[in-house]
């Protein structure tokens, strides 16, 4: 075990699989010599050569399209999109192609591949370097969507994603790249893609969250406990397919629910969590199912700290839910 940042854990995960499996390739804009703008792929080109870690032309459509072709022809591509905000030129390739290939070909062709991309706010990136687009993708059967929140999970989920037989969108909370540290096992291990994680036990209010919002929820939970409210925090980590049963169990057990994400509220991922609960165990609910989310506006720059949900907003929702 070594203590690593989330960023180092991902880098370690890439090193680990590239060493074990020569069919794993890493490519994207600036991932080679530069090692990516966040340095997530640092050292890979040096260690594995230009054939296995290389830069591409500035075309997300081409990056994902080519990755699909590689995947169906025996390689295991790990494509990087520099910022999740820039993934939209590849939206068609992801949603129409990668996600539907197995289905439309009756299982003859498949696209087991990973698209890694940093998402979310916290770096003063304004409208186009801060977005959390998970909901745009989670409405797409055939795709998997994974978001880690700890270094341990980041490495384990990434390796599981690379080994998964289906296409996986791996969203990395850039705000946590260097902000969280934790124990990370050496070498190969996986964290399975079908279960959520209870990040903190609690019995009064359960907060469902993922990615960069997990530490925010934890902080709010701590503050709440000072006021005698015992919060459970659940890190969903695989958003699609979701561990629905796990969500419902936690919701039933606690009876008071807050759903938290940094993307805009309207038609966001949180709506699905609320809806699942309202559909399957509404009779257990002792309070409204409350969402805390980014505002329904584009992402601002100077005022980003007002836009991003913080412990104040979560605490407020927790208290309202608890005292309902």
């Amino acid at each position: 075990m070594t203590t690593r940042t989330l960023l180092q854990a991902i880098n370690d995960g890439l090193h680990t699989v590239m060493k074990e499996d020569p069919s794993v390739l890493v490519f994207g804009e600036d991932v080679g010599v530069k090692g990516g703008v966040f340095l997530v792929t640092e050292g890979l080109q040096k260690e594995f050569g230009k054939e296995r870690c290389f830069d591409t032309p500035l075309s997300e459509d081409g990056i994902v399209g080519a990755a699909i072709g590689m995947a169906m022809n025996g390689l295991k591509p790990v494509a990087e999109i520099q910022f999740q905000d820039f993934i939209f030129p590849a939206f068609d390739q992801i949603v129409s192609e990668a996600a539907k290939l197995r289905y439309r070909s009756g299982g003859q062709y498949t696209a087991p591949m990973v698209i890694r991309t940093p998402y979310g706010g916290g770096i003063q990136g304004g409208l186009y370097h801060s977005q959390s687009g998970e909901a745009y993708f989670c409405h797409t059967p055939g795709l998997k969507v994974v978001i880690p929140s700890t270094p341990h999970d980041a490495k384990g989920l990434l390796i599981a994603s690379i080994e998964d037989p289906d296409p996986v969108l791996f969203l990395e909370p850039k705000a946590l790249y260097r902000a969280v540290k934790g124990e990370v096992p050496e070498g190969h291990y996986t964290v399975d893609l079908t279960t959520l994680r209870e990040a903190r036990p609690g019995k009064d209010v359960v907060i469902f969250c993922y990615g960069a919002m997990v530490p925010v929820a934890m902080k709010a939970a701590e503050l709440a406990s000072e006021n005698g409210i015992d919060c459970r925090v659940v890190d969903l980590r695989t958003l699609l397919p979701l561990d629905e049963e796990g969500v419902l169990e936690h919701a039933k057990a606690v009876g008071r629910v807050v759903v938290l994400h940094e993307a805009p509220r309207f038609c966001g991922y949180g709506g699905e969590i609320s809806a699942l609960i309202a559909e399957n165990c509404i009779e257990y609910m002792e309070a409204p199912i409350t969402r805390v989310a980014g505002f329904d506006t584009p992402f601002p720059n100077t005022l980003e700290h007002h836009y991003l949900p913080d412990h104040r907003r979560v605490l407020d929702a927790v208290e309202r839910t608890y005292h309902f």
Partner: protein, 372 residues
């Protein structure tokens, strides 16, 4: 539109100008037979559609030489990334008419399990005929990825990637050709310029002098050929495949041809295709052209042609009869193949669908007409 003269091999009189196809008699006949099969398959599908027995088809009369000429150069270890009009590529490589008809009927034996519209074929043997996707151009960068993977792994596989004049405007064309150029990927891009993207003529598609010329912007050679001349198509494709196998990278071939029918069975081309254009191309039928050539080398006579046509017709009709008898896919084909393993939520949706059918009866089929 193109100022350059396209490459031609078969002269109007059936003679050839200085190109030795090195095809055996059997191979020549196989090319011919496949062209006739495509034409007959097309005719029969149109009839099946008109009589309401299948929902939809894509006419391809007139473009046989391009698809079969190009496909005939490929080995079964290569990959085809075809367009929806490339029936002949599959037939040439031994996909049976029956397997294709299963798709036209979208039945339980359809390789795509009745999930796609007709003509959206998918085969992985005898050759990899990549699953057709409706969105135009998406398969282009995918084929580059597949080709590059082969190259990285040291295989000598080549990908043949086919698309239309309209397809050159798509983003996949741009990213695909650009990546192929940079990676020197072993791909042959075949742009079938059939004059139209549904009702839009090539002048509305691009201001460039033709499509072959677009190759230079991606650092690869571009070749303009007569797409109704099977041997010209072969010659250009052979050269391109050789370059690809030799590690010299991709080539863009523009084949001039003409779609003699509508865009699809839902389309009425008389609304937009000028009559004189139809007449012009009617005189340049690729099958008649090849017959002249075969006749010259002693392999064809009107009788032989007639006999082959009848034989092929019977075979394809029989395929249609058989395919029509096969039942629809089972209800669970809606729910499988979304992921390698079925997740719980899809399983329970499938279960609910079964239960509902039991308690409230089956869903009723609609009668929507496909417009495109």
């Amino acid at each position: 539109m193109s100022p350059n003269e396209p490459l031609r091999v078969i002269e109007p009189d059936g003679g050839v100008n200085g190109y030795d196809s090195r095809l055996t008699e059997d191979q020549l006949i196989h090319c011919y037979r496949t062209m006739v099969s495509v034409r007959v398959f097309d005719e029969i599908c149109l009839k099946l559609q008109r009589s309401g027995r299948i929902a939809f088809s894509i006419p391809n009369k007139g473009v046989e030489a391009t698809q079969i000429g190009a496909a005939s150069v490929m080995k079964t270890s290569d990959w085809l990334f075809p367009s929806y009009r490339d029936f002949g590529m599959a037939l040439y490589h031994g996909v049976t008419p029956l397997r294709m008809m299963q798709n036209m009927f979208g039945n339980a034996e359809d390789q795509a399990k009745g999930r796609q519209m007709p003509v959206h074929f998918s085969f992985e043997e005898p050759i990899r005929f990549y699953s057709i996707s409706s969105p135009i151009g998406t398969h282009i960068p995918q084929s580059v990825g597949a080709a590059y993977a082969a190259k990285l792994r040291g295989e000598d596989t080549v990908c043949l990637t086919s698309f239309g004049d309209g397809g050159t405007s798509s983003m996949g064309f741009h990213s695909g050709l650009n990546f192929a150029g940079v990676w020197k990927a072993p791909v042959v891009f075949l742009c079938q310029n059939n004059g139209w993207a549904i009702s839009c003529p090539v002048e509305e598609q691009t201001a460039s002098e033709g499509f072959a010329i677009k190759a230079r912007g991606y650092g690869m050679p571009g070749v303009l050929i007569d797409g109704n001349d099977l041997l010209a198509v072969r010659k250009a494709t052979e050269e391109a495949v050789e370059r690809a196998r030799a590690g010299e990278g991709p080539t863009l071939i523009e084949a001039l041809t003409f779609r003699m029918g509508g865009h699809s069975t839902s389309d009425d081309p008389t609304r937009y295709v000028p009559k004189d254009m139809v007449d012009y191309w009617a005189k340049r039928d690729p099958i008649e052209r090849f017959e002249k050539y075969l006749e010259g080398v002693g392999l064809w006579s009107p009788e032989m042609g007639k006999a082959l046509y009848d034989e092929v017709t019977e075979e394809i009709k029989e395929a249609a009869r058989q395919a029509e008898k096969i039942s629809s896919p089972a209800l669970d084909t809606i729910f499988s193949d979304v992921y390698a393993e079925m997740p719980p939520h899809i399983r329970s949706q499938g279960q609910a669908a079964f239960d509902l059918a039991r308690t409230r009866g089956d869903a009723e089929a609609g009668d929507g007409d496909f417009p495109l």
